[in-house]
Amino acid sequence: MSQRIIIDPVTRIEGHAKISIYLDDAGEVSDARFHVTEFRGFERFCEGRPFWEMPAITARICGICPISHLMASAKAGDGILAVDIPLAAEKLRRLMNLAQIVQSHALSFFHLSAPDLLLGFDSDPAQRNVFGLIAAAPDLARSGIRLRQFGQEIIEHLGGRKIHPAWAVPGGVRAGLSNASRMAIREKLPEALSTTRSAIGHFKTMLDKHRDEAVSFGSFDSLFLGLVGDDGSWEHYGGKMRVVDSTGAILEDHVEAARYQEIIGEAVEPWSYLKFPYYKPRGYPDGMYRVGPLARINVCRSFGTPQADDELIELRQRGGATIKASFLYHYARLVEILGSLERIAHLLNDPDLHSKRLRADAGVNRLESVGVSEAPRGTLIHHYHVDEHGLITRVNLIIATGQNNLAMNRTVAQIARRFVRGPKIAEGMLNRVEAGIRAFDPCLSCSTHAMGQMPLEISLFDADGTLLDTVAR
């Protein structure tokens, strides 16, 4: 008799989702789906707004990564003005985006995923959260929280507040970095670097312990998409899009933001509010691709900073030249924190940051524009059409998490097949399924529910809808 297991809600991710696992007559997993159950509507209600308000409005999509939307939106706005923004403004935007990567990755690793990795997938769910982590490994937990704080503080130094600063605007930025702020950031850098190095060390140890998960958590062939610099190095703000396959072959290169629709199509499914972007030349769903830390590392040649490049070599030795295992998103995330901190250190010494020219002024010079930047979770695309006065007439947003949708579904199915056996379900089995999703650090609504004690109810139904078993925590 076929059965359906529902995990609702999925915990320790950003947003609301549930997972359905379908069992066949023999109790084996036949399919699994990751449903995103919330609807936001930003693409619709932004219509009619002046385009220069868009960075601040779209930043409200997310409380974790508002900076990412701020950047992509401001870049789209630069395009409508048809200006090259002042050099200092670009470097300051880069500084804030790096800080955003640091704080968001720290949140994902230390607050959301470390409880699984450190305490174990089968540990008591009442303890398997950031509080349990504080009890079990206080130094690691505390340093992780402080690392996130460091990233948030850079954002505050630049934008006046940690969350939702309306700081990046079409044409540049609203304020520079004071000397006092520069000194304050510099002072805290060594601790941030040391925390990151220690977390990387911890992760390598964990990797040996979780060998089974490492190979079964979303390890499959797929394409990877991300921004790279002109020299093929790691990028997060500028650069152009590159697509590689799982052998490392470059399928697309130097794709300008404005051409994104040539390579990305968007499909919808009736069972999820999250769209399913795919690589157009391969069609849907064969054009599955991944974005985010792992993809950025797979598409780039090198990091461009010494410590991160050393780690990148080791990461590739462990995971392959093109890394297919989604479990290694965690590893890639930590290496990205390291590289971001190195770049922050470099930027703080840049004399260009002293410039008072921060904002280019212009009217509406283009009626359509696309802004692309790398959010912590992957490539983020904002595409706007405006009327002759600058009122938004159409918006298309391609969010990083959406681009991982096909891969997340594949991951859920793969883990369920490996770990879930009916008819009785062990909580640890289902936690692995959730943890597979957490590896992607999805940001579904863009508001966090970082609690490990959210109610989780899993129900087992037979094909007629009769309840067979319920597990609650």
């Binding site: 009619g48 220069w52 308000e53 409200r60 309306a166 079409p170 609203r174 600058g390």
Partner: protein, 233 residues
């Protein structure tokens, strides 16, 4: 001019004949919340936030003249309740979203909501479809944020002497219009002086290109202009 003697909140004060209760109260150091009133412009009593209790009857302080022997209360529980209801209704009537508003932090409506203890709105939002007109070369008007105080109308008419702005429609359909309900950019009477922007208490009138919390109105400059003209005459 004869002086009038009256009581405000139990204290005897004297006021000039013809003076409004609002002026008399302010002269005596008693603050009364206002929204449609702006120093330098005529009063219309539109917003009703300055209501006071005059011997048990509710009166707008800005358009009620002082009279001998008046016993006025400016801050009773009943008045505070009404004022909060008025501000809640203003929020419910249009699409006010402080989080992404150009005037956030410099908005009289927002300040009123805070000072009156409005922690939520008890009425259903009407969520009307309001347009944004940014056809003017320098300025824009977002009707979502308009509270129909008509300060812009009066500043344009009484200070600039142009009367580009007026009001069309009634009730919840009322809208501020430029000239004969044309886009602002096509309103020939507009001198682009910007006094309407100075006068606006919210983010309804703004400079093109303004982003969140960037729009500061400096409404005190209207009174300054009016006073300078009076002195020069």
């Amino acid at each position: 001019m004869a002086a009038k003697t009256l009581k405000i909140n139990g204290t005897m004060i004297s006021a000039r004949e013809g003076e409004s209760i609002l002026e008399a109260a302010r002269d005596s150091g008693v603050a009364i919340p206002t929204l449609c009133h702006l120093d330098g412009l005529s009063d219309v009593g539109a917003c009703r936030l300055c209501i006071v209790d005059v011997g048990g009857r509710i009166r707008p302080a800005c358009t009620t003249a002082v009279a001998e022997g008046m016993d006025i209360q400016t801050n009773t529980e009943r008045l505070r309740t009404y004022r909060r209801q008025i501000v809640e209704l203003l929020f419910a009537e249009r699409g006010h979203v402080c989080a992404v508003c150009v005037a956030s932090g410099h908005c009289e409506l927002q300040d009123l909501a805070v000072s009156l203890g409005m922690d939520h709105v008890r009425y259903d939002y009407l969520a009307p479809t309001c347009t944004v007109d940014i056809s003017h070369q320098r300025f824009g008007i977002d009707h979502n944020r308009c509270v129909l105080c008509t300060r812009c109308v009066r500043a344009c008419d009484e200070v600039e002497g142009v009367h580009t702005w007026d009001v069309s429609g009634r009730g919840t359909s009322a809208r501020i219009i430029s000239d004969l309900n044309q886009p602002w950019g096509e309103a020939e009477s507009c001198t682009s002086c910007g006094k309407c922007l100075l006068a606006c208490p919210t983010g309804a009138l703004f400079q093109r290109g303004s982003t969140v919390a960037e729009m500061e109105h400096a409404s005190g400059r209207i009174a300054l202009i009016v006073e300078s003209r009076r002195v020069m005459r």
